[in-house]
Amino acid sequence: MPAPTLPSENPAASVVSPSGYALEFDNVSIAFDENVVLDGISFQLPHGETKALFGVAGSGKSTLLKLAMGLLRPDGGRIFVLGEEVTRMSEQELFELRRRVGIVFQESALFDSLKVYENVAFRLMEEGISAEEIERRVREALRFVELEQTYDMRPSELSGGMRRRVAIARAIITEPEVLLYDSPTGGLDPVTSNTIVELIVKQRDVYKTSALMATHRLQDAFTMATHQFDKATNQLVVLPKGQRGEVPMSFLILRDGKVIFDGDGHQLATSRDDYIREYIS
């Protein structure tokens, strides 16, 4: 399927943080009442890489993303985003950092009282950018997700897949350096899921944006690991078998609040861990 035309190309990954990673979790734990959700989680997300985050329902994937965004505070451990320790920052300082990070929520979390263009333009309006510039960039972002025709519509008039794509447009409009996707294809039909996977791969390969993607769907992550976005044809192309390890893509699996796997596609496919083998089979 050909992808929509590209907006301005401005790779975000050129910014290198002091820690050397776009995102880093260091021994992070969090519990809700008696329920320990994450227990000593440590991993790193290098710049320009997309990491697929797996785990059964309730394993803490969404919690992990909210921790990375500073929307939740961990009980222990440290979290670095773009070299800044979010666990030591005040809410006011976090507002500044969050302008450099985009997030796509599981249920899209569009503002239902605002129209699509107001949703997508939300951050730009807050920054006091001129109306002409906002309209240009909103149309560009909506074109990127193939939804320019929804400009004046309300979120309630959109399907689940369209809402998810508008949420992606809202997340990428400011060209963030890190993107967090919370089950971006969850509950969607295969065609819409493929479109969203294509958008995520395009963001990875064209803009070199670092991303952490929580998902249940192994097939989406494997598509991302075995394909790359071809700018010439403007669509996804399958990589030859010998080049599949060259895609900046890795996998992280959570179980019982701990990381049980952190590696690339080849390491995942050849893992001897019974749980992982059962999970990917």
């Binding site: 809410e91 006011q92 997030i103 249920e107 503002f111």
Partner: protein, 264 residues
Amino acid sequence: MAFELELISPIEVAKDVALAVQEYTLLSAQSLANFFRRPLYMGDMLQQADLIGVGSLPIVILTGLSVGALLALNSASTLQRFGGITLIGQLVSLGMVTELGPLITGLMVAGRNASGMASELGSMIVTEQIDAMRALGTDPTKKLITPRVGATAFMLFFLTIIADLLGLIGGYGVAHLLFGLDTQQYWTSVWQTLVFRDVFTGLIKPVLFGFIIATVGCYYGISTRGGTQGVGRSTTQAVVASSVLILVVDFFVTKLIFAIFGYR
């Protein structure tokens, strides 16, 4: 189906209440501090002023008129027995301006708007819209709470003035039409009875009540837990808590003003 009763320790209940009071106090303080921080979101404040002020106008007009008329009707029969029907204007004006106008307007607006704020913000919580706002780098207390607090306090002030006036008109209607009181006599007694402290009392209260309505409504809204059922619970709690708080604060403000200015 078997129901299990869970006994909750009084200490846990006390801790929860203390935590809620602390969170409410912090939210209230932050909503006020935001008036001195940029951006101020004047557009949102005007929108809320329209929703709260203009939207509440019909119920305020109706209740103001009714309460004034009822006050006159109930007091007239007693006053008539002592030949003091001419005092009806004094009674209605004092009652409406110092007490019933602010109180009834506050309670009406609490019923209409505290519930609206709690349900709107509660829905935003359960659909992760508040988290999305924070993730987009916007402070929800600045964007959502401060405009509601400012708009409610500002509009309740004017709504109370309207309710007071309509209460006096309602009282006049009863006094003139049912008890034959002279128009000039009624309005002269209304005017001459009121002194600075009465007007001051009647106008300071709506500002405080407006602050209570908005902060309580917003507090229950953003504290919503437990999906749509939680939104319903927050809405009910917001109306009950704001109404009770208005009555309690009304008593203490009246007492304080008596302490400052002395009894009449």
